[in-house]
Amino acid sequence: MKVKSLLIANRGEIAIRICETAKKMGIKTYGIKTPKEPNAYYLNFVDEVVDFSEDLEEIPEFLDVERLIEAAKTSKADAIHPGYGFLSENPYFAKRCEEEKILFIGPSADIIYKMGNKTIAKQLARKHNVPLLQGSHSNVRNPEEAVKIANKIGFPVILKAAAGGGGRGMRIVEKESQIEKMFRLATSEAEKAFNDGSVFIEKYVRNPKHIEFQVFGDKHGNYIHLGERECSIQRKHQKLLEEAPSSALNEALRAEMGEAAIRIAKSVKYFTAGTVEFLLDDDKNYYFMEMNTRIQVEHPVTEKITNLDLIELQIKTAAGEELPIKQEDVKLDGWAIECRINAEDVQAGFSPFLGVIEKVQFPKSKHIRIDTGISDKSVVTPYFDSMIAKLIVHSENREKAIQNTINALNKFWIKGIKTTIPFCKAVLSHPKFKKGDFNTSFIEKEMKEMFYKGENDELLAAFFATFNHAASLETDRSTFVDFEKGKNISPWVLNKRLKSL
């Protein structure tokens, strides 16, 4: 089948990113307007707006399966693209699409279910000889059971939400005494985030690298991988800066891990875009973690080094087309870095920073790509995640990519809110990062300052504050207030005012 129209069940930059490819492919797009951000920037890019803003529902708009299905049916959209987050990895949503004969841009409900359930995913991996970490082979029911398994495989261990992703419902346990508290926290967080409180336990690798492989499959039994992405710069399991390729891999390891990733995909007859996540320890042992069955936030770095449009491939393979390329056609070219620009106060523990973006100025150059869902006067609301833009820089090698990214960040100005720009600069100028010597504990262990500050910066800020203060005192002093005018009262008023005394 050929996709003619597409409902985008997402917002922000990814909605815009999907529109771009859709436009290129001649697909009509429908976007959803929510009451939470009725003037959102992404609505300018869709061909037609489906208005969800009239009625407030209990369920958030992008999680309301039936409402979205209904919207697709009334607007006669052939397909739904879920983006990332929200319902992108919800098997029920995919199933409802299948039932309603709407094409879900992603794998089948069955595949999503299998890969989404980490216990099943691990069993599949084991069956197909993909290395795994030791742990519970299924969900852990209570703290006592957790203690038993933990003692068997040895501390530290990690508790993870079976339905999870994105760092929610994850807790590291260093010693036995903490396990009960952490179990409680992990289950309650998992319950909230995914409506499923089940957790499993596994050996915790200290300071691993987080390496993920982009894979594709089609419905005709073809599979490829597009190389890896290095996502080790994380804070509380939230990725903040990614690059492709990774300096930790050589050709042989890349090929080996790529094949392992493809074996995972094959095990479920995977089709469309997927990401296989591995942990890589200091001795270059890799362990399968999970497979994400959606397009990833950080997909642009892969696009840059492969010169492919992943959304296009995703839509095509979802619609049943054959993959247009073979593994040998995939050539990695140069180096790409992505910085996530989040509306967060880095200096206050990365807490969300809400407010109005008064002005924004993006850096411009041929090797710079900006994916963003904001523009001047956009509002950062508490309802959605804090990412407002992604800066992607592509250069011939890692060294140049780092320098070009720093230069780009210096020209990336946002007025009105605090962002992670100074943080990204700090990462990129850190000597260990430059050497490629880093892992997932980099932020916690290596970074003394979470933000980049030049030698004279505080002095300049002090000068700026003083200058403005002196100027405001000057304005107060020189504001000409005409007290005489107050005495010139019209005879009409004066007369009456006197009489009424």
């Binding site: 009451p35 006067k377 007290f483 009262i489 008023v493 009424s500």
Partner: protein
Amino acid sequence: MDINGKLYKKFLERNAAYSQQHGSVGMKKQHSKGKLTARERLMLLFDSDTFNEIDAFTKTSPSESNFGKVVNAYGDGVIIGHGKISGRPAFAYSQDFTIMGGSLGSVHAKKIAKIQDMALKMGAPMIGIIDSGGARIQEGVASLAGYAGIFRRNVISSGVIPQISVIMGPAAGGAVYSPSITDFVFMTNKTSYMFVTGPNVVKEVLNEDVSFDELGGAEVHMKKSGVAHFVYEDEENTLLGVKKLLSYLPSNNMENPPTAEVYEEKLEPESALLEIVPDDPNKPYDIKDVIKHIVDRDTFFEISENYAQNIVVGFARLHGRTLGILANQPKVLAGTLDINSSVKGARFIRYCDSFNIPLLTLEDVPGFLPGLDQEHNGIIRHGAKLLYAYADATIPKITVILRKSYGGAYCVMNSKNLGGDFNFAWPTAEIAVMGPEGAVSILYRKELIESDDPVKLKKELAKRYRDEIANPYVADEKGYIDEVIDPALTRKKLISAFEALENKHVNSPARKHGNIPL
């Protein structure tokens, strides 16, 4: 005159003695505590070289008994005088803590009374800088009588000339009542205190340990009691604040407020106003963002910004003219009216009315704050103050309804029939007896109980209610709203509306005074 003669010599001697008294010793004492001297404060308050002291050489009358120590110093612990503030005459007294702890004896009191009388006679602002240990114990009843005289003058001057109190040290016991009668109280954080009974007495009577700061520090009076209208971190900024406040006020109740030069004619539509107020009636926003976009740039000067924050009051300039602004703050308690905010609002309206300052009301109020606590503490009585103040005020009064305007709160907030001169509404306004959910539950109680899907029915009915009743158009068609305006044009509309009202005058029936529900 013979400048070497005896007469002139005596004059020079006295001056020298006086200078010495205000010299380094006392100055050091004050400075070491982070405080300025009484004289330095006056110098900062008044335009340079304009302050003239009077009664500099008064002395304590010889005491009848020798109880306690009497310091023989010129001025008796207070400086009084007159000068110009931003070019306009003003009168002031400043207590000197270095002389007998700034305590108030009969001579001290007489001096303050003298300057108060002058200010009233001249129709000029009166500023009191307070830094005093209270009534001078040695002088007994004479100092108490002195206080009473000051209070009476405060009351007589009230509503005739602006009276401002600046607390820069202790103000204890009876001394606190003079500031509380005056129009505005400034405090300097960490070095000023106000309380009726001090920590020692609290300890003796109630056996509670409480520090000066906890009992009557600037923070307490700014946030909890509402006694202090303005709090600054240091004395220089406090005095700058006094000057700034005065720039909005007329010298007396016969004058109109002063006009400032208009630097920029900002008349084009302000599209930001469309963004600030969310359509969703349950979403909060900061009303100060709205105010900022309506008034002249950087002219909003908020009063009591940390007290009863569900109402925002302050002065601003609109096209150069002073304007009083009273606005509900949806960010705090959803902008509901409670006891404290009603009283805060009412007092502000009374002030504006006394001094011919036009009043703008920005309304987004879901109603009065419900609850046992509010009812038992007399929200009826206190809410009535706000209503009374609005209805009683004869100044130009304009209301703009931004969003919610429900029930009794609609009536209170300067509605048309309460005496609003112009009542505007934005298209987002919801004017009704109550919010949609509540109204529907009452009107369709039976239908809702019997319905198979009450949630859905309720939502449909609420939508109908919004379409048919709770919108600005019904009120507009009935004349309770003069005009539904484009939010972006609010500033322009208000400028011309206030211009139209410039010569407003209302003849009130002859009476001694009304009986506001105090």
